[in-house]
Symmetry: C2
Subunit: 410 residues, 2 copies
């Protein structure tokens, strides 16, 4: 009997006393070692390209040479980029705060004074996006993902009808967690769609802009240009960071948008800081040098990460292929694999895995309010563990899926 | 005639074609050079005292060893400190945002939902404090400074009567700009005074906690302990930073408060970031080492700054002493000297100085809404220019005071 074999395998798994962690999308130590040079930089120099002293106050928008370096990959003119601190999440937080406490460009009032503010959340999606909105009382409305990005029929229908919908979360390239890259048509429709809210914003979290795993990097359409062409120049807030390029806790972040939005953002930013850490910006410019340097650096990451993604795919195929118990994504970049188990099984799989010492992101975390109505999506973060640990963990996870599947369906 | 001599001197000054800047409290290059070692740190290591990897995500509260290092000088238990990014102003900004968009500990509703939110502003004070409040629609109410701190009779009267008054800005040691350190009695009264608002907050910007210029460092009373003793444990938000200890643009900042407030603050902070730059925190621990290391480092700053403060005092005494045209502070620490000219003269002095190529902080900047009703306070920031430039600038400023004084009064 399949269920007996699954029970035996699970008991054996529990007996191993594992302590493995697949919860968060953290780079491994080996990946961080790729940026070891940063820990000794800038060394003897401290001067920016414009001759200013990076050690002192000032430079609210950030070093021009760093903005130029990321202009191409983020598809934002350098003059329309702002360099933030070590966290793009903080820039998203600040954007929401500024919209709540100040009137957005094109808006009629502060979001704090609106009857209701809601955001569309393509699901599965990123739990920190959802948590940020929840903290500030913003309502979360899930919309399904498709292989081309959010279900645009649904998105268009909702934003056209409801002026309370003020934004949508997008991870357009190698999305978190299912690795989807938005099609050109999806991007064009997002940029051009009529919205009932005059101050509707696309939160374009291009977190994995350069995080390719294959020789055929995904390309996404230029959302800022498309929005401007469609007469919606101020619709898009673009975010990026080097958290998964250099050092996860000590990188630099970027915000990009229309000239009007950049001026609006700087107007708030300048009240809360005299400028971000420019020495760290200089450090990054010296280390990455230019777009070619950035590309070469990301190839080294891919060499470390690719075997892990391949191992997950290989083990899941071997242990779950043809069972009808699971499907999973095989992303061409990014940090996550999305595992879909039969409806009503995800929570129980995660619980059983935890009992066997394998920590996974809580089931439901990929959905607003932690509620995956079908209870079927599990996010796998394969980058942090060593390869052999990862293999043990994924094999164990597959055992849990087989057991829960057999118990629930068999 | 005095006025003719003053006119002659001013024309001569204008003829020099100066271009000097006394506007902002920036450290000089020589001061920044004191921290040159930071630019090569952490070097080979990246491990915090608890064994965690500072390069990766996490550590929302900041490195324990850095919090321990600043616990004594900020008079906050290390467990009640949070390390932020490079700007304590950003922590003040965030505190206000969290109060506006979340219910403060002990409060009844979000400040954004209050009819009216006002802050007391001891004047002269720090323009960036005022600008931050203004940006978020918080009303500013000036209260006069005395040689012991804010006029406490006035403060007590206002906060007891008006539940709309939610906060007060305090720079308790070597205050910006007049260098006053609060007396023990002032601190005790602030900690204990009855307030109509249940969620009244003291914004305790201890920016110059270790920035002594003499051998007799000012000591201020422990406001957090006094507030707790008085039954107001959650009244005080404490801020500090190394912006004027290490690198102005690349230091670390700290927030301290009661355990309840720290938990409240972390609850918001954790939605907007996974943690501040821990490599920079490690860098600072390695460089400053401990409180003795910090003290020794600050002595080097004092050696560079003291001659500048002495020069200002010497030149003003020589050129304006006994004229009845000016008084000025002789602070024992901090970054500023406050120059008081006859009523109605400050704007004109600053205008004339600017025409002669000497840039000063705009007259009025030391007051809410940029409005110094008596038009008499000028803030002098002597640290950034070289000593010889500073001497020329102060001498020129004195010339402007003599001219305006003679024109207006004579």
């Amino acid at each position: 009997m399949e269920i007996e074999r699954a029970r035996r395998d699970y008991e054996e798994l529990r007996g191993k006393g594992l302590k493995l962690d697949l919860t968060r999308g953290k780079p491994s130590s080996a990946q961080l070692d790729l940026s070891a040079e940063l820990l000794r930089l800038p060394g003897e120099t401290h001067t920016a390209a414009d001759g200013s002293d990076t050690r002192n106050y000032g430079g609210l928008q950030g070093l021009a040479e760093l903005r130029a370096l990321f202009s191409g990959v983020l598809q934002v003119p350098a003059g329309q980029l702002i360099v933030g601190g070590n966290s793009s999440l903080a820039l998203m937080h600040d954007s929401i705060v500024y919209c709540l406490l100040g009137v957005p460009v094109g808006g009629e009032r502060r979001w704090a004074d609106e009857e209701r503010v809601a955001f569309l959340c393509p699901v599965p999606g990123y739990d920190r996006h959802f948590a940020l909105c929840e903290r500030f009382g913003i309502e979360l409305i899930p919309v399904p993902m498709t292989p081309e990005g959010p279900d645009m029929d649904e998105v268009e229908r909702l934003v056209a009808a409801d002026a309370g919908i003020k934004g949508i979360w997008c991870v357009p390239k190698y999305s978190n967690p299912d690795g989807v890259s938005y099609s050109a048509q999806t991007v064009a429709r997002l940029a051009a769609m009529p919205t009932a809210a005059p101050d509707f914003r696309i939160f374009w979290d291009n977190a994995y802009a350069v995080h390719h795993l294959t020789d055929h990097p995904a390309e996404i359409a230029d959302v800022l240009a498309l929005a401007a062409e469609a007469g919606n120049p101020d619709r898009v807030f673009v975010y990026g960071s080097t958290s998964k390029v250099t050092l996860a806790g000590s990188g630099v972040s970027l915000f990009g948008s229309s000239p009007a939005n950049v001026a609006w953002f700087l107007g708030f930013l300048g009240k809360g800081t005299i400028g971000a850490d420019k020495v760290n910006q200089l450090r990054h410019v010296m280390f990455l040098r230019d777009e070619d340097g950035l590309r070469a650096h990301m190839l080294k990451h891919a060499e470390l990460i690719r075997p892990k993604f391949e191992a997950v795919d290989r083990i899941l195929s071997k242990e779950l292929g043809g069972t009808g118990l699971a499907t999973w994504s095989s992303p061409a970049g990014g940090y996550f694999i999305s595992l879909e188990v039969p409806d009503g099984c995800a929570k129980e799989v995660v619980r059983k895995a935890a009992e066997a010492g394998i920590a996974l992101t809580p089931a439901g975390a990929t959905h607003p309010y932690g509620n995956d109505p079908a209870d079927r999506t599990i996010r796998i973060a394969p980058t942090y563990p060593d390869l052999d640990e990862l293999e043990v963990a994924i094999s164990g996870l597959a055992t849990c899926v087989r057991l829960v599947g057999a118990e629930k369906l068999g």
